[in-house]
């Protein structure tokens, strides 16, 4: 078969974030919070962004959706959602466009819901007032759709729960309602910011199952922000590790265990207590994440890195491709060091 007979058509990307920078304006200074974030996402793909507090994960996602207040933040780069760069739109255009293609789910479902409104009405509102509105929509139709959505996100006894107020539901149920509202307008990408961090372990597993089912059934793409590398590796297809506002490693989730080579990623793996082990303590990463207002010279991770050498202090590593779909920002990846040690 010749090359042109059957070209493999990759579906158009839904999200294309390109060289995204975010600065916080503070006392006449500009503090870089996100430094050159880029990623691409196609339909039904699952991406996880992993990092500690202050790594720039949440702020990067908010910037990509055009949610940051321009008086406080300066954003450069581009963020194309279904082909349209939302950063080039005016605030008014953005407010109309973004909700029609993307939705964002937050960590604390209690704070995302209106405590004085029945949850069914809150979902129906998406069809009556939100971007799910269609000509000819009536209250009855909207409520019927809302009820169906509650069933779709596996809320048991949905008819009864339709009339419940948020405080009458458990945390897991509330998060299901939030997800129902998020997918009501049929967005093409769902951003979840620590969707399960405030939930118990069995509820966490159930919510992650639900997000996976939605992806399989509707082809929605998902971006999940988490600090839990184990959760990311088990639930996503691609994992991006952020540190100090930069991507330090990006690789397919199934390769995290064997191929990760940035010392920060491997240190994160070792910092997770081993549940199947014999009770030996995890290996902590000494020191603290960098202060964005006062970043270290060279590689941002060098003050905490076990393998740091002289060039890490003076030169700044670039993100480079080391294998297909595997990018790395490091002069001395762990694999190279292992090879050197083996050859000695």
């Amino acid at each position: 078969m010749s090359d042109q007979s059957q070209p493999i058509v990759k579906p158009q990307p839904i999200v294309e974030v390109e060289d995204l920078w975010v600065w916080l304006r503070k006392r006449g200074r500009e503090i870089p919070l996100v430094r050159g974030l880029s990623y691409t996402l196609r339909p039904a793909e699952a991406l996880s962004i992993v990092g500690e507090s202050g790594a720039g994960k949440s702020i990067g996602v908010r910037a990509a959706l055009g949610l940051l207040d321009p008086r406080l933040f300066r954003v450069t780069g581009s963020s194309k959602l279904v082909g349209t760069d939302v950063l080039a739109l005016t605030a008014k255009e953005r407010a109309r466009y973004v909700p029609s293609v993307a939705a964002l789910v937050f960590q604390d479902p209690g704070r995302s819901l209106n405590p004085t409104m029945r949850v069914g009405d809150q979902i129906a509102e998406a069809f009556l007032k939100g971007s799910g509105y269609e000509p000819g929509m009536t209250r009855a139709k909207a409520e019927a759709r809302a009820l169906q959505l509650m069933k779709d996100v596996r809320i048991a006894a949905a008819e009864e729960r339709f009339k419940a107020y948020p405080n009458q539901l458990s945390g897991g149920m509330k998060q299901r309602v939030v997800i129902a509202i998020a997918v009501a307008c049929k967005p093409q990408v769902l951003f979840c910011d620590e969707p399960t961090s405030s939930l118990d372990v069995t509820t966490q597993a159930a919510i992650m199952d639900l997000i996976g089912e939605l992806r399989d059934q509707t082809g929605i793409a998902t971006v999940t922000i988490t600090h839990d590398l184990a959760l990311a590796a088990s639930r996503a297809r691609k994992v991006i590790v952020m540190y100090g506002g930069q991507v330090v490693e990006a690789l397919p989730a199934r390769l995290v265990a064997t191929e990760s080579a940035m010392p920060y990623t491997t240190a994160l793996i070792e910092a997770v207590p081993d549940i199947d082990g014999n009770g030996t303590p995890p290996t902590p990463i000494e020191g603290m994440p960098p202060d964005p207002a006062n970043l270290p010279s060279g590689c941002s991770f060098h003050p905490r890195c076990r393998f740091a050498q002289d060039d890490c202090l003076t030169n700044t590593p670039e993100l480079r491709v080391v294998a297909p779909a595997h990018e790395l920002r490091c002069f001395h990846p762990v694999k190279d060091l292992e090879l050197q040690e083996a050859s000695r």
Binding site: A205, H227, A233, S234, I269, A271, I275, P284, I285, E286
Partner: protein, 349 residues
């Protein structure tokens, strides 16, 4: 007062190891407003929990939100004395305290470490003052003596007294603040420390630092503690024995290894399968629980877990399962415990 090195105990559970805390059939209920205008409803938060903690041992109490683990901790501390049952603290030197007397004596004997260290420390107090406070209430009047003891304990938790003693909490990172909170809990040499979700609010890398610190303290001081947690991985590293709690009752209590490798209660088994797999390993075969945790206002009859249990039978609704010791040290409250054959079947499903 000296460092509690005299409490070093060889690991292992011998009969000679003294029991520090006895919790016997403790019941805690709260009255709340009900939908009926003239009646109150009763929340059954803890419904008959018994356990003991021996000197030099860390016992974990694991449960999800609403399981009553924090209520149990508050009852042990005496912050909210239990409605029924017996809580006895055997202090070093022979003194015994019953139900909540700990509170009247200024909390001596039991100290607590909370989830959020910034909320637990007075924002206007220096580290020195916060850590020295338990010594003052314990009657140590010499400030130079207090200062020396604080320096000693800060050093033990990995903070240099010279650098940190005069800082205020907002000048500390989350990990440092939690170290200060741990130092404050240990400084008066308490008989028992209650660790209430000590690493939940911290970042992964800092979590590992605090877990390692507690692990070291356990080895060095023979720390006696109750560890309240919902994260099983933390428990795995630190606890000698683990109790699993569901809706106010204990389901299972056993040496930590047994809980993880041979769970006998279906709830324990389901909890274990819900943990994300270790990085690089395939997804766990999950045991899915039906529905949601019922309200403690109206707990199910019989076994409280039966409404969600994959193997529940008629007997489970009729009779409250007895708390039995199936194997030495392995207690379980279940009519149909997952003895090996069942456990294998569940694991293979």
């Amino acid at each position: 007062m000296s460092l509690p090195t005299n409490t070093q105990i060889a690991p292992g559970r011998q009969d000679s190891v003294p029991v520090v805390l006895e919790v016997d059939d403790v019941v805690q209920t709260f009255q709340v407003a009900s939908s009926h205008p003239f009646r109150k409803a009763t929340v059954s938060a803890v419904a008959g929990v018994s356990l003991t903690v021996e000197r030099g041992e860390i016992v974990a109490v694991v449960g999800e939100t609403g399981s009553g683990k924090s209520t149990l901790a508050r009852a042990i501390l005496g912050a909210e004395p239990a409605k029924k049952g017996r809580i006895v603290l055997h202090r070093r030197g022979g003194a015994t305290k019953k139900n909540g007397q700990a509170k009247e004596e200024g909390g001596r004997g039991i100290q607590m470490v909370f989830q959020d260290p910034y909320a637990a420390l007075d924002p206007r107090w220096s580290v020195l003052r916060s850590v020295a406070e338990p010594l003052r209430t314990a009657g140590m009047t010499s400030s130079s003596e207090r200062r020396r003891r604080v320096a000693e304990i800060l050093n033990l938790v990995g903070l240099s007294a010279a650098r940190f003693a005069d800082r205020s909490p907002r000048e500390l990172s989350g990990g440092q603040a939690q170290r200060v909170a741990i130092a404050r809990a240990l400084v008066s040499n308490p008989d028992l420390v209650l660790l209430d979700e000590p690493v939940t609010a911290l970042d992964v890398s800092v979590q590992a630092q605090i877990i390692t610190l507690l692990y070291t303290l356990k080895g060095r001081l023979g720390l006696t503690a109750i560890l309240i947690a919902h994260d099983l991985a933390v428990v795995r590293t630190l606890a000698d024995r683990t109790a699993i709690m569901y809706l106010g009752r204990l389901c299972e209590l056993a040496p930590t290894d047994d809980v993880f490798h041979r769970p006998l209660h279906p709830y324990t088994a389901a909890l274990l399968t819900a943990i994300p797999p270790k990085i690089g390993e395939p997804a766990r075969e999950r045991i899915h629980l039906k529905g949601e945790q019922p309200s403690p206002l109206n707990p199910p009859s019989g076994c409280r877990f039966r409404t969600r249990c994959p193997i529940a039978q008629d007997k489970c609704a009729a009779e409250v399962p007895e708390w039995r010791e199936i194997e030495p040290g392995h207690h379980v409250a279940c009519h149909f415990p997952l003895v090996d054959s069942v456990a294998v079947a569940v694991a293979e499903r």
